[in-house]
């Protein structure tokens, strides 16, 4: 298990993660980041406005950037009309 940190940047600014989470690997950390983005977007849906311009930066304990997960990669948007 390694400790990953999830720093959030979106319309509300920069939220630094000082605690992190113990996870098996970077793939698990990406899954965690996507779940977090979806959790945040649920709140935005309730408020009626979704801002997909944010991102989560995944770093290790020393602050080294391991991955970037953009908000728009966490959801699939279907906007055009057509047969479902």
């Amino acid at each position: 298990m390694e400790r990953f940190f999830f720093h959030l940047r979106n319309g509300m600014g920069w939220v630094r993660d000082e605690e992190g989470c113990e996870l098996p690997d970077l793939a698990a950390a990406r899954v965690c980041a996507i779940g977090s983005i979806r959790s945040l977007l649920k709140d935005e849906i309730d408020a009626g406005r979704i801002d997909l311009r944010g991102r989560i930066d995944i770093t290790d304990e020393g602050g080294r950037l391991l991955g970037v997960v953009p908000f728009h990669s966490a959801v699939e948007l279907v906007l055009e009309d057509g047969e479902p």
């Binding site: 999830f6 959030l8 993660d17 989470c21 779940g35």
Partner: protein
Amino acid sequence: MIERHLAKLRARDEIDADEEAAIRGAISECRDLPADHTFIRAGEELRASTLLLDGLICRYKDLSDGQRQITELHVPGDFADLHSFTLKRLDHNIMTLTPSRVALVPHENLTAITERYPHLTRVFWFLTNLDAAIHREWVLSLGRRSAVARMAHLFCELFERLRIVGLTVGPAYSLGLTQEELAECLGITSVHANRTLQELRSRGLIEFRAGRATLLDVEGLQAVAEFDPGYLYLERRPQ
């Protein structure tokens, strides 16, 4: 040793010296438990109820994919599972969140209390009803409050519950919860909990760092949470 428990009871009712002695006498042993230790698992047969003397513990349920929902936090003075006296097995797990000291009260000793101390029995019945009231408030939070209001509400609740057992200092209290555990109380993720904390802080309502919560603006926080302490039955009403 059971001073927090007595403070919790005496905030609501008169507990005389005989009843106090009966509670003390019902304890068979005390144990020190490490943090993050599930010491009661759903389904196991129980012969004693656990009274929290010091520390922080929670009831939780989980799904097969590992998602966990904390359904109630227990502060010193609370029984974690007085309901196991009648249920004998639980439908949820109980875990320490910080190193904790607990007292075990064997069910046979609780049976003896119900036979000899009718008033104390009613007071213990009140305690399980109080847990049910807290659960209802959490259902309202999880189902209907926004994440910000839900978090504000939890900090308001813990302030009141810790205050009556003498564990607040002015507007502050110790709370050994990680961001992840806080998220598991609120049905959100750790990142979401962090963002929500930042929002409450930027609005000047609460500061939570290094295991310490400080209510910067109690009235403002209560307003955001729509917090009404009525469900905690803090008034004295002899049973």
